[in-house]
Symmetry: C2
Subunit: 351 residues, 2 copies
C-alpha cells in the first residue's frame, strides 16, 4: 500500500464535520506531502439527503468499497430537527458503512497529554499517565437493527431490541485487543454485564478467557459496565486496553473522552481487520450543529484520527509525527482560545 498511491474517500458530512476534516487534511498533507494520497470527495450527509432524499445508494457504496480508506467528519442533524428524521443519517450512513464494510474493530484511544488540564487532575495523582485504548466491537450487539414493534402507537405497544452476538464477531475483536496489549502494557479488561446479560455476557467471557490463554504474558480482568463507569473516574490510569461490545463501547468511550479532556480530543478508527474493505477514520464527536460554522470546533480529534489512518496504511513513522505534533501542541496550548483553522495551522507546522 505504501508503494502505490492510496485513494482516500473524504466524507466531510454535517455540522462541524467539514470544518474539522479540513484541518485533518491540512495536517495529513503536511505530514506525507500534497500528492502522496489521492483524495476523493463523497458528498454525503444532511445536505445530500435534503437535496436527493437518498442517504447512501448502492452505487456510492460500491465506489466507497474501492477506496483504501475513508475519512469521515461527522453526520447527523441536530437532535429534535424536524427536517431530518431522527437517526436517519446515523443509521443510513455511519452505521451502514460500519456494517457494510465489516468494520469490526472500533478503536478509540484516550490519552492525557503532559500539561493538559483535565477535570480529575487532582484526583489522578502520583503523575501516573492516563493512556488507554478502547477496542469496541463495531458490527454486532444492539446495533444490528434487529428489533420491532407490536401495536405501535397504542397503550399496548411492545417494542423490542435484540442484541445479537456471534462467536465469530467476538473472537476477532477480542484477539485484536490482546494483540494490541502485547504492543502496550500487556493488560486487557473486558467490560460487560454478565451477571444480568448471561447469554451475551457468557459468550464474551468464554472467548475472552479462551483467547486470553494464548497470551499468558497479558494480564486480563473483568469489570461490569456500571462499575467501569466508576473506575473511569476514580482510576482511569489503571486501564490499558479495554475490550467491549458495541453499545457498552459507545457509552464508555464518551465517558472516557470527558474524563481525558473532552470529546474534542477523541479520535477513532473503524477498522476492517480482514482488510477486505476500507477502514474509516473519524473523530468520536458528532456533528454539533449548535456550534457549526463558527470556526470554534476543536479539530484535534479529527487530526489525531489521521494518525490512526497512517498506522493502518502502514506508515507508522508518519503516524508518530502527527502524534508528536499533537502532543507538543497540547503541551503548549494554554488557555488561549484558538479557532479551528488556527489549531490546524499550528499542528501542521509542528509535524
Amino acid at each position: 500500500m505504501t508503494s502505490k498511491q492510496a485513494r482516500i474517500a473524504v466524507i466531510r458530512g454535517d455540522g462541524i464535520g467539514p470544518e474539522v476534516v479540513d484541518e485533518a487534511l491540512k495536517v495529513l498533507k503536511a505530514t506525507v506531502g500534497e500528492n502522496t494520497f489521492e483524495f476523493v470527495d463523497f458528498d454525503l450527509g444532511a445536505q445530500h439527503w435534503l437535496a436527493t432524499q437518498e442517504v447512501l445508494n448502492d452505487d456510492t457504496l460500491e465506489e466507497l468499497k474501492k477506496t483504501d480508506a475513508i475519512i469521515l467528519g461527522a453526520v447527523g442533524a441536530a437532535p429534535g430537527s424536524t427536517t431530518i428524521p431522527s437517526g436517519l443519517l446515523e443509521r443510513g450512513l455511519l452505521l451502514k458503512l460500519r456494517f457494510a464494510l465489516d468494520q469490526d474493530v472500533n478503536l478509540r484511544p484516550s490519552k492525557v497529554y503532559p500539561n493538559q488540564q483535565i477535570p480529575l487532575a487532582e484526583w489522578v495523582t502520583n503523575g501516573e499517565p492516563i493512556d488507554f485504548v478502547v477496542v469496541r466491537e463495531g458490527t454486532e450487539g444492539l446495533y444490528c437493527g434487529n428489533g420491532g414493534k407490536l401495536r405501535a402507537g397504542t397503550d399496548q405497544e411492545v417494542a423490542t431490541e435484540v442484541s445479537v452476538n456471534t462467536a465469530h464477531g467476538v473472537k476477532r475483536v477480542v484477539r485484536y485487543a490482546f494483540e494490541l496489549a502485547t504492543r502496550r502494557s500487556n493488560h486487557v479488561t473486558l467490560l460487560h454485564k454478565h451477571n444480568v446479560l448471561v447469554n451475551a455476557g457468557g459468550l464474551w467471557n468464554r472467548i475472552f478467557n479462551e483467547i486470553g490463554e494464548e497470551f499468558p504474558q497479558v494480564k486480563r480482568d473483568y469489570l461490569h459496565i456500571d462499575a467501569a463507569t466508576i473506575k473511569m473516574i476514580t482510576n482511569p490510569q489503571d486501564f490499558d486496553v479495554i475490550v467491549t461490545d458495541n453499545l457498552f463501547g459507545d457509552i464508555i468511550t464518551d465517558e472516557a473522552a470527558a474524563v481525558t479532556g473532552g470529546i474534542g480530543l477523541a479520535p477513532s478508527a473503524n477498522i476492517n481487520s480482514s482488510r477486505e474493505f476500507p477502514s474509516m477514520f473519524e473523530p468520536v464527536h458528532g456533528s454539533a450543529p449548535d456550534i457549526a460554522g463558527r470556526g470554534i470546533a476543536d479539530p484535534v480529534a479529527a487530526i489525531s484520527s489521521m494518525a490512526l489512518l497512517l498506522d493502518h496504511l502502514e506508515r507508522p513513522q508518519d503516524a508518530e509525527r502527527i502524534r508528536t505534533a499533537v502532543s507538543e501542541f497540547m503541551a503548549n496550548r494554554g488557555d488561549e482560545s484558538l479557532s479551528t483553522s488556527q489549531i490546524g495551522d499550528k499542528v501542521a507546522k509542528l509535524v
Copy 2:
C-alpha cells in the same frame, strides 16, 4: 400505614450488607423509636444458598409479599468466585424481587452535601448545587432475562439478549418522573439511544412527549446515553430528574455516584408504584466482599435509603430528619476515617 405497626423485612445479605444494614437500622430506630416497626429477618444470600442450594423459594417470596417494605443490604459473591455461579444471587434474589414485586420505579437520588469534597469540585463552579434523582425503570428492558444461545460453546455460537419495553411499563415510570419533577425543579431529562435503538427509543420518546404534554410547567429534554455520561461529568448540576430504562439507569447511576462522592453514599428505593406489593430499599453499592468484615464499609448509602423508606411509609418528617442528620454529618465529616459503626452512631445521635 402510619396507624398500624408496619412490618419490615430485613435481608442483610452478603459481604458488607449486614454491616451497613445494622447502621441503617440503628438510625431508623433512633428516628422512629424502637418499637414503631416490626422487623422480620430473612436469611437470604450467599450463605443461605451455600447451606440450602436455594436462592429464594416460593414460600419465602409469599412471606415477603406480606410485609410493608423490605430493607436489603447487598447480595452477590465476589466476581470470579468459584463457589457461587456468577449472577445467581443477583438474578435469583435481587432481580427476582424487583420483578416479582413489580418494583417499577427504581429511585436513585444523587446529592452533593455542603463542604463535601468531590472529584469534580473545581469544575462545577458558581456554587451551583448538585442535586438530582434518577428514575430508573425496574421491571423491563434488557433485564427481563429474555435471551438465548444457539450452538453454545462452539465457534458458531450465537448469543442474544432481548430488550422488551411496553407502553404500560414505560408510562408509569415516566409519569412518576414528571410528578416528582413538579415537587422539585420542574425539569425532566430522558436518556436513551433512540438514534440506534429506534423501536425501544421511539416508544420511550413517544410516551415521554405524550405525558410531558400533561405537565406544561415541566421542562423536558432528551440526551443520548453516551452524551449523558459526558454531561454527568461536565455539568451534573444541570440535571433535576432523569428518567431512563433499566440498563441505562444502571450505568448512569453508578457514574452519578462516582461524580457525587462515591458509591458509598448512594441510596436507592425500588418502588412498586401501585402499592400492590412491598417496595424495597437498598444502597446502590454491591456486597464488596473484598472489604467485608473489616468495619470500614460506608453505611451512609444504607442510612440514606432509610429516608426513602420513610418517605414511602408516609412519614416525610421522619425522612427529613434522617436527611438532615446525614447532611450535618457529611458537612463535618472531615478527613478522619471512621468505622462503619462510628458513622452509624454519629448519624443516630444527630437525628
